[in-house]
Symmetry: C2
Subunit: 193 residues, 2 copies
């Protein structure tokens, strides 16, 4: 890996962990094994470095989503495996943590570029998710758009919860909310009552 990539990767990790203001270029340089001024040979300044990380994360997350969708089987089990894959990516990969932190709390001066990049990301997501939703046997009471909205809410809830619950509890909560979601969107067979 060349120096620029090392800086990028280290910056990603530090920004995700300590926040933009909490991360110093000195720390990044030390971890990479260079001196601080050398960073400026690869990136114009701290803001430009941050923006480069944003773009990298966008590409990386998109790729992960595509992989998860491709390897998924069909209908319900497929959707579940896609969501699980995404939730795990967001909680485990440093790219995922970075994504979560800065879509929610972008540094003031960089909010614009962050928002534009990640909003574009969600549009691309929609295109990938809708066909999967279509393969489900939806309840006649629920439209595709409602199912998609509820799906994002589910995923957003999961990703938040990975930030502050232990792994065991996260898994339990995912199963429960997944079950309720599927009960809510699925075509009902009359089960007595």
């Amino acid at each position: 890996m060349n120096t620029a990539d090392s800086i990028l990767q280290t910056a990603l990790s530090e920004f995700a962990e300590r926040g933009y203001s909490g991360t110093s270029l000195n720390t990044i340089a030390n971890e990479v094994g260079i001196k601080k001024p050398s960073i400026y040979n690869h990136f114009k300044n701290k803001e430009a470095l941050f923006e480069a990380v944003v773009k990298k994360v966008y590409v990386d997350y998109m790729q992960t989503l595509k992989i998860e969708i491709d390897k998924a089987p069909s209908a319900e089990a497929g959707l579940k495996s896609i969501l699980w894959g995404l939730a795990n990516y967001l909680s485990d990969a440093e790219e995922g943590k970075f994504y979560m932190r800065y879509i929610l709390f972008p540094p003031e001066a960089l909010a614009d570029v962050v928002n534009r990049t990640f909003m574009q990301f969600e549009e691309d997501c929609n295109k990938l998710f809708l066909p999967v939703i279509n393969r489900l046997e939806l309840s006649p009471d629920v439209t595709d758009e409602e199912a998609l909205d509820a799906l994002y809410c589910l995923l957003d809830g999961w990703t938040v919860q990975t930030l502050y619950y232990s792994h065991d509890i996260v898994l339990r909560k995912r199963e429960a909310s997944w079950k309720v979601f599927m009960e809510g969107v699925s075509r009902k067979e009359s089960k007595g009552s």
Copy 2:
């Protein structure tokens, strides 16, 4: 309002907006109308100030939850109004924004105190929510605990979404995910199929 309270309130707002490292005591002092060293007459240092804000937010959020639960009517409509009230509090009040930011991304050195405080908070929440869940006519397929887990997931999803969607879209998404949630947890009447 006395000086200590002014500092506390201003710190809450600045921390919520700019993050811990991104907030300087100088800014806080200016906004309060005093000089920076005066802050140290009321709080030992920046960390102590932050901890005081955490405690304040805990008390404030708990109070909001109690108020929402007390004024709610019964069963389904009641639960909906409670959740709406909480989601609005989290998205509109500065206390809510602070809560969201630091339960998700506490500054490294203060993670312990943040986690202890907010975990205590959730235990108290459970005690308040369970009776409300009990008043619903739950589907025989869903346990109380599952419904509660799914409920928190719903609320977590909503609160995240208030951070990056416009108000209109937030409302649409809430309605959709609420509908799917209620479909999922409610006792089914056989509607043909």
